[in-house]
Symmetry: C2
């Protein structure tokens, strides 16, 4: 299939969600070290409400529901960040929400979602299994299913980050974006390329869950037999038909990063920018540090730090132990 | 003594240091929870280069040295952040630097300072002892001593954060600022109050190192017999004569926070803003959460998150263990 995401749809979403999301900051130059291009700017979407870009798609979806759909409530499945965003947004808008997480989700993630009064169901060992179960639940009870990446409203919402980035840096000419299900790069790609056709978009995937890379090489959506990465928010076994179609059209290159390189990049972001982020949020930096993403020809490159929900609990317990 | 810090001096420093520091972002509204005023804005100076406001005073000082002073090199003493800022700035400007730290400084702090090629000497158990030894060294070898708070160039540099804040939020009417040696609140106070005499400045100190509070109550600089706080960057036994004089004139109230309240505030900053900061950086939030700082009458309150160098190493080792 070929899927089109019209610029106008993203522009409408941008206006719709503005009162509900943060306009996240750009990391201002200069940087401390010289491991990466000194022209590089970071879009700190890890500072979005609930700690990731996921809120954009979620809010856009919930604000587009009918009154009847809102009253019945919504269902979702998530590796973590989509669920957290949905729980927060649903509580804020007064919509009942049920969120399916794999059994492997950490207690911290489960608790943060429950904090917003969403009902949590843990099922399966990977996101794909929780997703299938959640779809059944939604169909049975006639509830709206909020897909984490492969849905027009979700994609339009994630695309707003592209418009916001152009507001911040009108002369941006190269953007690095991490790929999980492909919702962020699909939405941002549609926004950015329709307004700046010459702009270069580089996707970044973990080697252990390189479903978009495999699909682009095959020419169709490939389902990986298994996935293995510490980036628990970048790990569906297959991207979506819509996100694949958008990536085919708008993504110039996909580069891969190893897990240990993402951890190195987490350290870099901490030492360089005092930003603690999750592995997925550091993937774009890993691609620069390992040399796979080449931005030497770019005049105004931007790396999107897409999520910040690192497992930080040990920091607080260390300080508490010193009391 | 009465010490004056002229607005013009701070304005000159602001222009002088601009190419060398980050203009740090304001945390945009809305916040996720409702524990504090929804009008509150955060000035994220934890995102300054080297992770704290200290770079401002350091850069202003180093840029004001004569060529001869630069060639001979500089000496400093620090609980951590001042030393890190000095090491970075000295390397950047090509100035030899020796930094005294107490023996209690963590290996992580020592290593980060050594990374910038500064010579590190560990002496004494608290900052005051390292400070005395560093002063002797500077006098013996005729080297410039870069005081972490009680010096005109340091104070003018820290004052630039007040000017930057007014650029960001011209209608700010109440500012919360943590107090260690008093350099930040002294410099910012001088900048803010000379331009906005009606603005309210609230200082925040740990109960275990409340040297400014004790001094303001006594009417002179009080040296505390001992200090006890996990905020290792807020703990000189005495504030300075200059910072005390500025605080007498410009600080409207000092409120106290307990160590466990700073840790709670660290958690709040993490959950609310995805910002991991050190205890001192969270002190102003602790003062809001515990109710000691009252900003109900403020229309545009700003809390200065002054430092971010939390002990985050356990996060990375946790991820590495999962490889």
């Amino acid at each position: 299939m070929t899927y089109n995401l019209a610029l106008y749809t993203i522009q409408q979403a941008y206006q719709r969600i503005k009162p509900y999301v943060r306009h996240t900051p750009m990391m201002p130059a200069p940087l401390m070290h010289t491991d990466v291009s000194s022209n590089l700017l970071l879009k700190l979407e890890n500072m979005q409400l609930t700690g990731s870009f996921k809120l954009r798609g979620v809010i856009n979806t919930l604000l587009s529901l009918t009154d009847e759909e809102r009253q019945r409530g919504v269902v979702a499945s998530s590796g973590g960040n989509h669920g957290l965003a949905l729980a927060y947004a649903a509580q804020r808008l007064g919509i009942p929400a049920t969120i399916y997480l794999p059994n492997t989700a950490t207690a911290d993630r489960v608790n943060r979602i429950r904090y917003f009064q969403a009902q949590v169901v843990q099922y399966g060992t990977v996101w794909d299994e929780a997703h299938t179960r959640a779809l059944e639940h939604a169909a049975q009870d006639n509830l709206y299913y909020v897909h984490p990446f492969n849905a027009p409203r979700t994609l339009a919402g994630q695309g707003t980050l592209g418009l916001e980035l152009l507001d911040d840096v009108p002369d941006v000419d190269c953007v690095l974006i991490a790929i999980g299900g492909g919702g962020l790069i699909g939405g941002m790609g549609a926004a950015l390329k329709q307004l700046r056709p010459q702009l270069r978009i580089i996707g970044v995937e973990p080697t252990g869950a390189a479903s978009m890379d495999a699909s682009l090489k095959a020419g169709y959506v490939v389902e990986l037999p298994s996935i293995s990465t510490i980036a628990d928010t970048l790990q569906p076994r297959a991207v979506g038909e819509m996100t694949f179609s958008l990536a085919q059209r708008y993504v110039d290159a996909v580069v891969l990063v190893e897990d240990h390189q993402m951890i190195e990049a987490m350290r870099w972001l901490w030492l360089e920018c005092n930003q603690l982020v999750e592995p997925a949020g550091a993937a774009v930096i890993a691609a620069l540090l390992n040399g796979n993403a080449d931005i030497r020809t770019a005049r105004r490159p931007v790396a999107v730090i897409c999520g910040g929900n690192a497992a930080a609990g040990s920091v607080f317990t260390t300080y508490e132990a010193a009391l």
